[in-house]
Symmetry: D2
Subunit: 343 residues, 4 copies
């Protein structure tokens, strides 16, 4: 069986598991006050080059988006997202559940355009009725996006400038951040992200951990009483060590970057396999998610061979868009096995 | 160092860890659709004797209380709890955050009285203004309570009958359920609980897991679209296997009961240590949390010896109420070491 | 001064005022339990031909939309609206504030298309990930729309059928319902609306009252404990008589229809004034709101003459879209005066 | 028929009605931007002696409490109220609906004790677990209280000082403020209230208006974008003139004070009627609500004579606590007629 369905099919990276095993019988204080959590925070501060950063570990992506957005916005504000943003499409209304509108802009292969953002906000304030409307209150982008694409540094700077111009906090969803940072073509570093955003998160669940996302406020600009707010959102782990130990391992000796890099190597090989055989890509993705326009009869071949992938959307009568994911756990052998099946 | 501060100071029970290690590299589907999660559910159904039960795994206690209560109540209803209930005191307003009032009754060593519940609801409907008031919509009890006490079977039956009389779903918070079920003095079995409540949860975090609580709807009476609701509350793990594997291990070969039993054995020894030395108890607790009225000078001795406990509340000028917890991980040797320090 | 800015610039219709004056010193019970409120409900039941209808009087349009939608939807559901719907654009996020997403469809001159609605819901259920998405839970339409347009009976039937097919309650916002019912070109009666929707409201504020909207559940299908829910939403008037007396007057001897008819007569005259002078309409509106493409230099003439209108949106470099409203209070003389100014 | 059931049984004071009639056909701008609303605000600023005050008109008491509290509190905070506070008992959970806990202190004939407030907040911060608890975030008091009682100036000062000490905004619910200000025994002026609170409201509904409450931020300290927040809460009237005209009339030539004074005169006469006949009072109220311990057989006499009152609560086997209200509309003749019935 070859499973390319997603990047969260395995447990955690063996070194993360080892750290959990090693620390298991230590008695530690709860709610993220333990030494591993502190150490993890310190290592992340080094990684991003922000000694003042405030960091909080939550358990999953939707929870993180919900908690960050709800605690950043004022009551009368909404969050601006690309139409295709995870917060808009695939979080079961978790943002609206907290009382806030998701305000959408067109999606350009998953990305928001700085100019369109500027026009939207300008249009809002130019509207004489805007007191009766939802105020744009912050901006949400994902990097990599839901389509595996990446912002260039200049695109990110442009969005950041529009945000500063209109005084809108910029939040970057990094559920797959590792895969973005290690992409062959990116010119965006984590330090760029720390410098250009007001808050972002470093995803663990999809990059080597069993669970866990690290929210980072690069300037030490977390909301007041953030621990209380996390508790109120049902998002505070009693055994905070579970996140702390994992992130401590991920940020020891460059593990996070190394294992994300593996997914990128495999994704490049995967692209070559498809390209060599003449398959078309739905989107040109430089990260670990690859979207291929696949003839339905090829899908039958794959299904028969036990290859697992995600069905994305219909393309036309004869073709489907499907997603193949690599991860820290994908091996060269798996790619080669797939190549043989595809002939 | 002797740490009796809480029952969540260690990681997970070695057999749970072993299961995580063993399954780690298997590729499994996400969001709780994997085979371990299914197996865990099946074992829990056996354990409670309810083949029709619907079961959902969440990550922590406050999250579980918040999600269960918010999805059970109608919009105009509140949840009735003892004044000392965790949902009323120590969840940072997580229930009110979802729009519902916590309506309180007196706490009798942590417990609610069935008669007082009946009077409250009767008084509510007798009030000609009750359309302008919050309707009592469900009842929340914890077992063991926040003070380590337990309902007797007849107390539980009485509450359940009042609930049925007024058509109020009964929800039992079992964050420490294992310690309640294995108490020396209890006459309440898990099958009693399944028969007398509408929904309850079996706590994992405090009884051997790294995280995880199993919500049980004994009659298959979960709210519609419960998975969507869990997602909306930010409580759906992508790697649902993390909970599934742990609960599968906990409910294999009676592990859950066995390790909870260890905590009870140690708690009985601990009680004897204190009783033999003439200490008074603040509450007569039959479970793993022991509340002792401790002279401040004894506390200094303990502090000097590196013994860790929880400070509960001031008792009088010279004494404090402190809490000592045992757990699945507490050893006979630790109790003996404490005994020596207390002389 | 000629003021065509909106249909809520005056107080209330003289006969409504008379009823308030006449009843003012009567001592009546509060919260909508008085005899005038009962009488108003009975008259509305007659008007719509639904003897079983449940009726509730609220104070304003946004409050009504918020209360109806929040109490109709399940927690995991959103409301489907045309992009241009009032609930989506001009209610300051009042719907999202209650926890629900507004899900949008294209606006066709303010209207939703039944086919597009069907496709959207079909697409939702066809998506294998729909458990992670907001469920379409009800449909919101306005009649007249925000652009003054009206659904035909067959369009309304088509939407109603799609709603029935997918089990979605259909809610019609009738803030300006009177103007829709008395339009020269409509084939939709209030009885059609009562038969084809699950809930609608009859607007008072914009059709002759000082305040007040009548929510109608034609089949007696109001949510349980609706009075409590209205109170909880801050929408229950202590002196419910204020709404009751006004609606009683509006539905005595056909007043509501008569005064709405006046607005339509004046709107037809207004259209003629503009048409005769060669002005173009932005939208062909059969009700009391008229949207004209107006050269900026004409606007200067109007401004100088003290004519008041609403600026809608820029049309092109030289023209603006402006709105002229008539109401129950607009006179033939005012239209003639405008005609002289426009030459 | 003699109706003492409440102070909102009539419409509005004749002079208020006159103002509505007089202004009815004027064309005015919507949403509280009209000249009457401006004039009313200016007159209230004079009345309270705060030229910088920001003032907003809402429609009813629960709506006002809900909007003020929700927009003042931070997300992790609750509002502290006496157990008997309207927000805690009779608003159908309108406060919790907005996500906030009502935290209660003992009620002393409806009043909160400054010392108990101080102890509660001190205890909160002294609790090492307070990060897991709801933070006290503001204080709610009513004046007159739900039992007709009044704070003395020194009591009010003491509460205000505790609030300042802990940085808690103080909110005074003045649904019946007029009756408090004109009480024979009070030493509290409206200027005292403006000086000692952060926000309060002047009730119109129960003191001469058809509807309407004036929220006052004495120091111009309203939340940002208050109009948008009011709209979002469904509380913004399109015809804001309805509130504006009424409050403008109420604050012209001392009408508000004059008509509240009438209620107090009548209440004093009412007290004498009961006292002379040997009835006992449940509470010694100096305002327009009188609570009498009434033998059930007397109630039969009153019922037979068509006297209407409110039943409050059972007192003992033979007696009920009942409420008699006077208002701006109560006449000397009505009191005399009651006196004759009671003999």
């Amino acid at each position: 069986m070859l499973n390319f369905a997603s990047d969260y099919t395995e447990g955690c990276h063996p070194k993360v598991l080892e750290a959990l095993v090693r620390s298991n019988m230590e008695q530690l204080t709860g709610y993220g006050t333990d030494a591993y959590t502190e150490s993890a925070k310190e290592k992340i501060r080094d990684f991003i080059g922000c000694p003042e950063a405030e960091i909080f570990f939550l358990t999953g992506g939707t929870q993180t988006n919900q908690t960050v957005i709800d605690t950043t916005l004022r009551m009368y504000e909404g969050v601006v997202s690309a139409q295709s943003g995870h917060v808009n499409c695939h979080e079961a209304g978790a943002i609206e559940y907290t009382g806030h509108k998701v305000m959408t802009l067109p999606s350009h292969e998953g990305k928001m355009d700085a100019g369109e953002l500027d026009s939207m906000v300008q249009g809002f304030y130019a509207d004489s009725d805007h007191d009766h409307m939802v105020f744009p209150g912050m901006v949400y982008i994902s990097h990599p996006t839901e389509y595996g694409t990446l912002y260039t540094k200049s695109e990110l700077k442009a969005i950041s400038e529009v945000c500063k111009k209109w005084n809108l906090p910029l939040f970057l969803d990094g559920a797959r951040l590792g895969y973005g940072l290690t992409s062959k073509t990116t010119d965006v570093t984590v330090k760029d992200i720390a410098g250009l955003t007001d808050v972002f998160y470093i995803g663990g669940t999809k990059v080597g951990a069993l669970c866990g996302e690290a929210i980072v406020y690069p300037g030490g600009n977390a909301p007041r009483q953030m621990v209380t707010l996390i508790k109120q959102h049902g998002a505070l782990l009693a055994k905070g060590r579970l996140n702390g130990v994992q992130f401590d391992a991920l940020f020891t000796d460059g593990l996070y970057t190394e294992i994300a890099g593996n997914a990128i190597e495999r994704a490049e090989e995967l692209k070559k396999v498809f390209t060599d055989r003449g398959y078309r890509f739905f989107i040109d993705s430089p990260t670990n998610q690859q979207f291929i326009i696949m003839p339905k009869k090829t899908l039958s071949v794959l299904d028969a061979a036990g290859v697992i992938y995600s069905t994305w959307e219909p393309y036309d009568k004869d073709n489907m868009v499907v997603r193949f994911c690599t991860s820290w756990a994908t091996t060269k052998e798996q790619i080669e096995a797939l190549a043989k099946i595809l002939v």
